[in-house]
């Protein structure tokens, strides 16, 4: 595969296109190209099935118990991304709390195997959108999380409640006199 990758690089051909086969798990190159044509088509028509989370985490309960978003999603007010807590972080509480619940058992099992939880992305932009979204300025501008993520108090497992289309962003930016320059988000 290494050799293949090199040969391809020399030819300048994207790797997963070489034999038409999708980019394998053990692929030796990284490329922005789509793993399969099917993927390309899906993205083209913006078909994004509902993510299936490995653990049925419920926001409702946690927020109900008076927790804040930023308790787990650290960094959202400092930088571009919000942290998805690691299994260790969850276990700080669930060492003792609700340890008998099946989902929590799953959690503990991950920890026991030394694995992190493979959460699936709910929001986030397609690579081809070239969007460099930064949470922090929005938080500072007092935009409530629910504006873009829906009211998590009402959600169990996070779902895509809000459609993050460019229209959605633009509308809000216009309303709030936020910059509309393309390179505000696209670079």
């Amino acid at each position: 595969m290494v050799v293949l990758g090199w040969v391809l690089k020399e030819k300048g051909l994207p790797a997963q296109r070489a034999d038409g086969s999708p980019q394998a798990a053990s692929s030796d190159v990284f490329t922005p190209a789509h793993p399969t044509i099917a993927d390309a088509i899906r993205e083209f028509f913006d078909l994004r099935p509902k993510p299936v989370q490995p653990i049925a985490y419920t926001h409702k309960v946690h927020l109900g118990n008076g927790m804040q978003c930023t308790d787990c999603h650290v960094g959202v007010d400092q930088g571009p991304d919000a942290r998805i807590p690691s299994v260790n972080f969850c276990m700080t509480c669930h060492q003792v709390i609700a340890t008998d619940k099946p989902e929590i058992r799953k959690l503990a099992a991950y920890r026991a195997r030394g694995e992190d939880i493979p959460w699936q992305r709910v929001y986030g932009f397609e690579p081809s959108a070239h969007v460099k979204f930064n949470h922090a300025p929005h938080i500072r501008a007092g935009v409530d999380c629910s504006v873009c993520h829906g009211d998590m108090r009402q959600q169990t497992v996070a779902e895509r409640k809000v459609d993050h289309t460019m229209g959605f962003c633009i509308a809000c930016h216009q309303q709030k006199n936020a910059p509309l320059d393309c390179v505000t988000c696209h670079f």
Partner: protein, 749 residues
């Protein structure tokens, strides 16, 4: 179906993560629990040290969280870890003050190189077959220990040899101590571009076996004899900073810079006056300049002091070196010599430098001493705007030169049982005639600490891959580039990507297992302990107003990337070790008779590959060479007149033949080289050095003669003559379209 779709989609979503720099997380892989507590998307800057050349610049490394494919407990998975993303100069570091050369910045790719060794290897096929098998660290170290234990108890007559690049500070200390803990051992240091000639010259003239620190920022007149001080020579970043300062940093003042060399180097290209000189005549030229200055009463001969007294006929005013007498030998017009001499004398402070090819002729030492004398005459030694000698104690010169060592091994004079290799690639970087390859074949057991398979480590029986610099504890004591005392130190900037171990730690482990002398000599558990100990000592010795105790001193040093004295503690030269009588003017000797080999062969350090140790970095391969704009290859520089005479066209494949071998590379016809000189960059022509460098271009070192610089053991790599001929169509990849800004195509009516 449902499930499969989901996988595909998540792979696509993964690609989004890729945009956040996490690579292309591949969702068949499990995710490991992060070992660090990281906030995504936030960058932290950590200090480190550049280890790619002897300059020892301070780094500031941008570290951000990302997903790396790593192996844990034999299982491949994704780990969110802090990853180095960009290398910049450390603004606080006195040597490079926030700046960094292209090579230093590309150092990032060493860590992430796809062909980096991912764990210890044991040779399975015959030597050089490149067949290795992965083993555990425990087995690997045990194997080394078993080979060493006999030697240690000196049961056998055999010896331990340790071949390394020139090292400094604690790394050198540990290696030397380790080697010394064996009864019979030889430590050999080798680098193609070593500065030993200049060290010896400076020792003789000024009593400091050190390369000079050039305070160019304050100079008003700079004369360089072949030194590529803006590219690769000595401490290029520090010198570039000074150059910028000298040119435009001081309102109303602009120093002049004159470069003497037979082929325009990247540095020469920036000169106010570039003057070609006959190869090897630099010393005579320097003395000729000195003669004019003395004769015209600009300076008294005595002003040169000891440095001058080393030169024969100095006190008599160097009458043999009157420009008119020797202009022909030097190849520079007498009036030019006189003019330059007057200008230099009139524009205080003026400074002269010599380096690279000028000291790589058989008379290199003479050339260096002559320039030292000129400097002394100009009164630029130890003064602002002149040459300074950093207060760092001179490193002890290596026991043996590689050449003599190889000779001893080949002749059987030294029966080397075990060879340890670190940071050196002598099979590539030493002339074929030295027979290093043959010597290695004679050695029963070779262990390398290399991170890559290169020409030398390919011959190893055991490979114990070192961490990359960014993954290691680093400590360095630069000898040039700043008037301050500098001791750099840096903890690892990121966790190791592969199953590698730091060379010093492995040595300590080995010593520990060996017990006896070695264990006694090296009491530390880990390398950082050794460094911390050295800093405790430093605190006692130097002290510091900023830290209240050694502990805090140590912490502070780690935070800012090292410790450096507040004030520029410049050293005024002690009169040098008056080594024997005055040195005579000696003409350079060249290998190969002029009739058969009519051209001087001039290898030069590549701005991008240095001595070839960086040819494996894709950024370096694809960056256009500053002058030739060549990418992904080597070339041979030929003057248009010579090309015409030999019917060679741009891009032709030419054969360059010396008495010691031949090579083929595409021709580059350029006006910036003397008609009787053929120049070629060092760095390409690797036979076995990762996918990016292997089988690319040709290696000029391979055809060099073994001539050495008189008075030193080091290689006179500019003392070979060659002949050349066109042998077909070559592949010359140029980024630049036109050589001139006004090519014939643009001519008006």
């Amino acid at each position: 179906m449902e499930r499969r779709d989901f996988l595909k989609i998540s792979a696509a979503a993964g690609a989004t993560a890729a945009l956040e720099g996490c690579g292309n997380p591949d969702h068949q892989l499990i995710r490991f629990v992060p070992e660090e507590d990281l906030i995504p998307g936030l960058a932290t800057w950590k200090p480190s040290i550049c280890t790619l050349c002897p300059a020892g610049c301070g780094l500031s490394v941008r570290v951000m969280p990302g997903d790396a494919e790593v192996v844990r407990k034999g299982q491949l998975g994704l780990l969110k870890m802090g990853l180095a993303k960009k290398l910049e100069g450390n603004p606080a570091h006195p040597i490079n003050r926030g700046k960094l050369c292209p090579r230093g910045q590309a150092g990032l790719q060493v860590t992430y190189h796809p062909d980096r060794l991912k764990g210890p290897l044991v040779r399975t096929g015959r030597r050089g077959s490149g067949q290795f098998r992965e083993v555990s660290w425990d087995d690997a170290i045990q194997q080394l220990v078993s080979h060493l234990s006999d030697l240690q108890e000196s049961k056998s007559e055999g010896r331990l040899a340790f071949v390394t690049a020139p090292l400094r500070g604690q790394r050198k200390m540990i290696i030397d101590t380790f080697a010394a803990s064996f009864k019979r051992s030889m430590a050999v240091e080798f680098a193609f571009f070593d500065d030993s000639v200049i060290r010896s010259a400076n020792a003789a003239s000024f009593g400091h076996a050190l390369p000079p620190t050039v305070d160019m920022g304050e100079s008003n007149y700079v004369i360089s004899f072949g030194a590529d001080f803006l590219g690769t020579w000595n401490s290029p970043v520090a010198q570039s900073l000074g150059f910028g300062q000298m040119r435009k940093g001081r309102p109303g003042e602009r120093g002049k810079f004159v470069q003497f060399e037979p082929r325009i180097s990247q540095t020469g290209a920036s000169a106010d006056e570039w003057i070609p000189v006959e190869p090897g005549a630099e010393g005579m030229l320097a003395l000729s300049l000195a003669h004019v200055i003395i004769a015209e009463k600009q300076r008294p001969a005595a002003a040169a002091g000891h440095a001058g007294s080393l030169v024969e006929g100095w006190s008599q005013g160097l009458t043999d070196f009157a420009p008119e007498k020797i202009a022909a030998q030097i190849g520079v017009k007498p009036e030019t010599i006189r003019r330059i001499a007057r200008e230099a004398a009139a524009h205080d402070p003026a400074v002269a430098l010599i380096g690279d090819a000028a000291v790589a002729h058989t008379n290199g030492l003479f050339n260096a001493l002559a320039v030292n004398a000129l400097n002394a005459l100009l009164g630029s030694v130890g003064k602002p705007g002149g040459v300074l000698f950093g207060p760092v104690p001179a490193a002890k010169q290596p026991a043996a030169s590689l050449e003599s060592w190889a000779a001893q091994v080949n002749s059987g004079a030294a029966a080397v049982e075990v060879l340890l290799l670190y940071n050196a690639n002598p099979v590539f970087a030493a002339p074929a005639v030295w027979g290093v390859h043959a010597a290695l074949d004679k050695i029963p057991f070779i262990a390398s600490f290399g991170s890559f398979i290169d020409e030398t480590s390919a011959l190893a029986d055991l490979i114990l891959p070192d961490h990359s610099a960014l993954e290691s504890w680093l400590e360095d004591t630069p000898v040039s580039g700043s008037g301050k005392v500098v001791v750099s130190v840096a903890p690892p900037t990121m966790n190791p990507l592969h199953n590698t171990r730091a060379m010093p730690d492995v040595l300590l482990e080995v010593a520990h297992r060996l017990g006896g002398e070695s264990a006694k000599a090296l009491p530390w558990k880990t390398y950082d302990e050794a460094i911390q100990a050295s800093f405790a000592a430093l605190y006692k010795e130097m002290g510091s107003k900023t830290a209240k105790d050694a502990e805090e001193f140590w912490k502070k040093a780690q935070e800012q990337g090292g410790w450096w004295s507040a004030e520029e503690s410049r050293v005024t030269p002690v009169s040098g070790s008056s080594a024997g009588a005055a040195v005579k003017n000696s003409a350079p000797r060249f290998d190969g008779n002029p009739s058969e080999y009519p051209y001087y062969f001039l290898p030069f350090a590549s701005q991008l590959f240095y001595d070839g140790s960086l040819a494996h970095l894709p950024w370096m391969q694809e960056a256009p060479d500053p002058l030739s704009t060549v990418m992904w290859g080597a070339w041979v520089e030929i003057n248009p007149r010579t090309a015409e005479k030999l019917a060679i066209k741009q891009g032709d494949l030419v054969e360059v033949a010396s008495p010691h071998g031949k090579l083929e590379a595409p021709a580059l016809v350029t006006p910036g080289i003397a008609p009787d000189v053929i120049a070629m960059p060092v760095g390409q022509g690797h036979e076995n050095f990762t996918r990016y460098a292997t089988g690319r271009g040709a290696n000029p070192i391979s055809i060099l003669s073994s001539a050495t610089v008189e008075g030193t053991g080091s290689l006179a790599w500019a003392a070979t003559r060659v002949t050349l001929s066109s042998v077909g169509q070559g592949k010359l990849i140029l980024f630049g379209g036109s050589l001139s800004e006004n090519p014939p195509e643009l001519k008006h009516r």
